[in-house]
């Protein structure tokens, strides 16, 4: 039995093919790498989160500015008339007792404990799962709904698309659509971010007389109020937008909530 400590060379002095050194080098490299990556992730996280929040807030503000109804109502009654509420998507009822500002829909959709799995046959937007609640903004005028702003998300050609859809008081007419996040092909699908394309949305109608959701982004030019011009070379991004809106306005999305608004107002 040889005492292992009898002539133990320093770790670095060992032969490179020595198993102990192989394991030690692998372990040390992994440890240092893990430390560097962890430090970067933790130290920079607040700054990244601030960017994301600022971006979302800026898009929301930009959208609100473009809504004509918004400017009028705000001029009359001040900024407080825009209320933010948490909606239970399954029942369409407001969730009381929770602060909508604290609700993180993205985290709730990612967390297996809270996420609602979307049945495959309904999952036209390719989301797989969504949060049980959604944060909606409602603009009231004289006790009536003047505008509802719904966050929606779907799948484009190569990225997740997030948007805010504003519906007018009839809950059928689009007041505005603002894309808040997407990473589709620059110059093609990414043109859904251009104001010129988003300007095509106001006045479009999402559902026909029977209440079926028929809005779609078509190839080429739109011919009915239920259609929006597609972007050439970005058919799949356009289809993604169509499916996103059809899912979220449908029964598994905001359908119950919109039905409730239609029946009883607030």
């Amino acid at each position: 039995m040889v005492d292992p400590r009898a002539h133990r060379p320093g770790l670095l002095a060992r032969d490179n093919d020595d198993p102990v050194k192989i394991v030690a080098v692998a372990g040390l490299v992994a440890l240092c790498s893990a430390l560097a990556v962890t430090a970067a992730a933790i130290l920079l996280e607040p700054r990244q989160a601030a960017h994301l929040e600022a971006e979302q807030a800026a898009r929301m503000a930009a959208m609100l500015e473009t809504l004509p109804a918004m400017a009028e109502v705000l001029a009359e009654s001040g900024a407080d008339s825009l209320t933010t509420r948490l909606v239970d998507l399954a029942t369409g009822a407001f969730v009381d007792g929770a602060d909508p500002a604290d609700y993180d829909a993205e985290a709730a959709a990612a967390d297996p404990a809270s996420a609602v799995t979307i049945p495959a046959e309904l999952d036209i937007a390719g989301l797989r799962q969504r949060a049980p609640h959604a944060v909606v903004h409602i603009l009231e005028q004289d006790g009536e709904v003047a505008l509802v702003i719904l966050p929606v998300s779907g799948t484009g050609y190569q990225s997740r698309i997030e948007a805010l859809l504003a519906l007018e008081a009839d809950l059928r007419t689009v007041a505005a659509l603002t894309i808040t996040a997407q990473a589709d092909t620059a110059g093609l699908g990414a043109r859904i971010e251009e104001p010129a394309w988003q300007a095509l949305w106001p006045g479009r109608v999402v559902s026909d007389e029977t209440g079926a959701i028929v809005i779609s982004v078509v190839r080429g030019a739109a011919s009915t109020p239920y259609e929006v011009d597609g972007i050439s070379g970005a058919t799949r991004t356009g289809n993604g937008i169509t499916n996103m809106l059809r899912y979220w306005l449908g029964d598994h999305g905001y359908g119950p909530f919109l039905a409730r608004l239609r029946d009883g107002g607030l």
């Binding site: 192989i22 080098v25 692998a26 790498s33 560097a36």
Partner: protein, 217 residues
């Protein structure tokens, strides 16, 4: 001194990683739709390449041969993640445009190629110079391709209008093709042609296999 300079100069055109070694082509196709993303990608890759070459060269006597590729990839991947985090913290908008391609620097053959072919066998100084030269060579092609694609595809450079497009009331009809990946292939192909027209020695004898090493990463 002379060799130090040549280490930086040679990979710029004679041994350019993209046009001569055909390495790093995948990212060159993806991030060159506009000049600003091409510039940021070039900077990110050059920094990763220099740092990884320095680290790997520093550790070269202690990296066991059997796990050398794993160690190299681990170092490169960690650097890439750190750089990606920094970009997302300080260059938020541009990092959005680069999306996954910063992360894909890990699989860029150029970085591993230089680590394996040069940094494993040479001291830190020459390794960093070699990495810098290759990074700049890659950057040169990216910037050229990015400029051409943004100028012809959008009529602008770095977001500033150069040719007034027809939609804005000007005369210029943007070439949509320039915004698609094949356009980068065409431009890189033309560049390779142009370089080989001048450096005739780069042309492989007919019947022989093309430049070894790489793949389209």
């Amino acid at each position: 001194m002379r060799s130090a300079v040549s280490r930086i100069i040679t990979p710029l055109i004679d041994q350019n990683p993209i046009s001569r070694q055909i390495l790093g082509v995948c990212s060159a196709l993806a991030v060159t739709t506009a000049l600003d993303t091409a510039l940021l990608m070039s900077a990110a890759l050059t920094i990763v390449l220099c740092l990884s070459s320095a680290l790997i060269s520093l550790l070269r006597h202690h990296i066991p041969h059997v796990i050398r590729l794993i160690v190299q990839i681990t170092i490169i991947a960690s650097l890439v993640i750190v750089i990606d985090e920094i970009l997302r913290a300080f260059f938020f908008e541009l990092s959005r445009a680069l999306s996954v391609f910063v992360g894909l620097i890990v699989t860029n053959c150029l970085v591993l190629g230089r680590a394996e072919a040069f940094a494993m066998r040479n001291p830190v100084g020459p390794s960093v110079l070699d990495a810098l030269g290759n990074g700049l060579g890659y950057s040169l092609i990216l910037i050229l391709v990015g400029s051409i694609r943004e100028l012809l595809g959008q009529g602008s450079l770095l977001g500033f209008t150069v040719f007034q497009t027809q939609t804005d009331g000007g005369w210029f009809q943007p070439l949509g093709l320039m915004q698609l990946a094949p356009a980068a292939f065409f431009i890189i192909g033309l560049l390779v042609w142009a370089i080989r027209a001048i450096h005739v020695d780069q042309v492989e004898p007919s019947g022989q296999a093309a430049t070894p090493g790489g793949g389209l990463r």
